[in-house]
């Protein structure tokens, strides 16, 4: 069967009412799951899998596609309205979403996030449809050493470029890396920093850290603001935007750039939507004529983050569908959804089930497009009233939501104590000028970086020079050096300028 025949067959299939209904239900469910801190698209799909045993394969996959796209987008809603990212890939959305919500532009911010998510998701689906086989071959050039350097580059660039203080950003990343080493070493099987506590042998789940670092400090801030009357409920009330955002044309370059970044990052296994969102955000800020507006309520910042993290969605499935290698956790769960239907993702799937594969890819595009309508409407009508609540009530609600979300990950009471511990640590770090995002990134990428480094050393028979000898590795190392030099150059320039001012 030719690609054209398979595509035509797939188009007919996805417009069956059962498939459309499954996509809509999945999308709405995904948005709700993504919007609730502690629940993720990965968890939503994992829970759904047992329910899909009895469904037709395409109905089940349509629901999976909806939850995936909805779940990633849903994270933007609490990120904007409460300053709590529902998913880790929505962390950069808080940077501009919170200032916009505070100045009464939450409605516009939610609309920009919905449209940007839809565009990123559609672009990613189209990339999956057109570029799957050739793009998948790019990752074949990457060995363990290259993956290690990619992880190192990701952490360095975020730590250095994200905040105003590169040194504290790097300390934050190192703290995240150290937390990531807690538990049983996956290679040797030995315990590390477990202090004979049974619960620590499995290490910390990154959602616990995420909910702790991003859920508790805002709740503490709200509690203090409520007590000092520094933040009244009217300050949090969402009002109809005085001026409706209409300058969509100004976001087009950001959408194109962020979609490209998200698609490329998505293809690289293990990197994921969080990295795509951060890189897109940093790139948008770097090229903008007014980079100082970022972090203070820039629509381009929200567009970059949301477009970037959704552009990662479908492209992250390229290695899964073409090579049978899931690129991230959610791709692994989606692979499970294929397997329960008796479908083995890999090179053979495009030959044995072309209509089904193309229909699933079209479902990814269709559910992303549905965000234009369902994303904005649900966000505005259902979640925006959250802001009308007084801070004295929002603070305990955030704690309760974080506790229930974290508990349901692995039914662990220890996790909710860890949540509180990370929350207080996060508050203190934030209050002393340490950015929190590099901590999370360190925890997510640290174990991957270590595993790839040790694998690379085994392949190179312990020769550390060989780990940095390939052309790709050298290019990435050069980029790392460049990123690390930026704060040093900035520091020297500031010193020189200060000296000149004194002399003048």
């Amino acid at each position: 069967m030719s690609m054209q025949d398979a595509l035509l067959g797939a188009i007919v299939e996805i417009f069956a009412w059962q498939n459309l209904l499954a996509m809509i239900v999945g999308l709405i469910g995904g948005i709700i799951v993504g919007a609730l801190p502690g629940l993720t698209a990965t968890m939503g799909i994992a829970i759904l899998i047992p329910l899909t045993f009895t469904m037709e394969p395409l109905v089940a996959l349509g629901m999976v596609a909806g939850i995936y796209n909805g779940g990633i987008y849903g994270g933007a809603i609490p990120a904007i309205l409460l300053g709590i990212p529902g998913t880790s890939s929505s962390i950069p959305t808080t940077f501009d979403g919170v200032p916009l919500a505070r100045r009464g532009d939450a409605e516009n911010a939610l609309r920009v996030s919905a449209y940007s998510s839809a565009i990123g998701g559609i672009a990613s689906g189209v990339a999956l449809l057109i570029l799957a086989p050739p793009l998948a071959t790019v990752t074949l050039l990457f060995g363990p050493a290259e993956y290690f350097w990619v992880a190192a580059f990701g952490m360095c660039s975020i730590a250095v470029l994200l905040g105003d203080d590169a040194l504290k950003g790097l300390v934050s990343a190192a703290i995240g890396l150290l937390i990531g080493t807690i538990g049983i070493d996956s290679v040797s099987g030995h315990e590390r920093f477990t202090f004979d506590v049974f619960y620590l042998t499995g290490g910390f789940n990154f959602i616990v850290l995420l909910a702790g670092l991003y859920g508790i400090p805002p709740a503490i801030n709200l509690a203090q603001a409520a007590a000092t009357s520094a933040l009244t409920s009217s300050g949090l009330t969402i009002t109809r935007a005085k001026e409706r955002f209409r300058n969509w044309r100004s976001l087009v370059p950001t959408w194109i750039r962020s979609s490209s970044i998200g698609i490329i990052v998505g293809v690289l296994p293990g990197v994921g939507g969080t990295m795509a969102a951060f890189l897109s955000y940093n790139e948008a800020r770097r090229v903008d004529p007014d980079p100082t507006s970022f972090g203070k309520g820039s629509y381009k910042g929200i567009a970059a983050a949301e477009c970037g993290n959704n552009a990662d969605n479908a492209s992250a499935l390229i290695p899964t569908l073409t090579l049978g290698v899931p690129g991230n956790a959610v791709a692994a769960v989606i692979m499970g959804a294929f397997l329960v239907q008796g479908l083995q993702p890999g090179p053979g799937l495009f030959r044995s089930e072309p209509v089904l594969v193309y229909a699933f890819i079209l479902q990814m595009i269709a559910t992303a497009a549905m965000l234009f309508f369902l994303g904005g409407m649900i966000a505005l009508r259902v979640f925006a009233p959250v802001l009308r609540l007084p801070p004295a009530l929002i603070a305990p609600i955030v704690i309760c939501l974080s506790v229930i979300g974290v508990y349901t990950i692995q039914n662990s009471i220890f996790d909710i104590f860890a949540l509180l511990g990370f929350g207080i640590l996060g508050y203190l770090l934030q209050a002393t000028g340490f950015p929190l995002a590099p901590v999370v990134l360190g925890l997510i990428l640290g174990p991957m970086a270590e595993q790839q480094l040790r694998l690379a050393l085994i392949i190179a028979r312990g020769d550390i020079v060989a780990v940095a000898s390939s052309t790709v590795s050298l290019i990435i190392i050069g980029l790392i050096a460049l990123v690390l030099l930026i704060p040093l150059i900035r520091f020297i320039r500031e010193r020189l300028r200060a000296r000149q001012n004194r002399e003048a």
Binding site: S188, A230, C400, N411, I416
Partner: protein, 164 residues
């Protein structure tokens, strides 16, 4: 940005904290002390290969903390850092209540603990709209029950009151 950065200009109404250089020096010392604790603990890891990565991170932390301390000698000493706490009583009340709440969740269940925690904390933080306080608590807990228990069938700690 969500993070508070050390800035010589204070936001209106924001309490000034200690001198930024003093704060950074104290932080550098605390980081070095914590890193030393983990360095000693890393020595207890049985396999040398499993020690390698944590020790590399700790060397990085020592280096960065050293730079953090060193930098304070090259930055203007008059800069003030933002205050860590804006309201000590509210911070203490909220943290203590949350610790008690978390401990209660494991003993009496999520809903039984939340039905007291939410309205009491809101009241102590100054909310005097009692009807709204109770209504939001009930609506929130019903919504949580529907999503987590009915839709997603997530097992929650056993409730002491209702035996849910």
């Amino acid at each position: 940005m969500t993070q508070n950065n050390v800035d010589e200009k204070q936001a209106p109404g924001e309490k000034p904290g200690v001198r930024a250089v003093v704060q950074d020096r104290v932080l550098a010392i605390l980081i070095i002390v914590a890193a030393t604790f983990f360095w000693i603990e890393a020595g207890k890891i049985r396999a040398a290969e499993a020690q390698m990565f944590p020790r590399a991170i700790l060397i990085l932390i020592y280096t960065l903390a050293g730079f953090l301390a060193l930098r304070t000698f090259f930055t203007p000493s008059e800069q003030r850092a933002p205050a860590i706490l804006t309201s000590l009583p509210a911070f203490a009340l909220f943290v203590v209540a949350s610790v008690i709440y978390v401990a209660s969740v494991s003993n009496v269940g999520f809903f039984s603990a939340s039905v007291f925690y939410m309205p009491v904390v809101a009241y102590l933080l100054g909310l005097r709209r009692h009807l709204m306080n109770l209504a939001v608590t009930i609506i929130f807990l019903v919504a949580v029950y529907v999503v987590f228990v009915v839709f997603f069938s997530r097992p929650l700690p056993r409730e002491m009151i209702w035996g849910l």
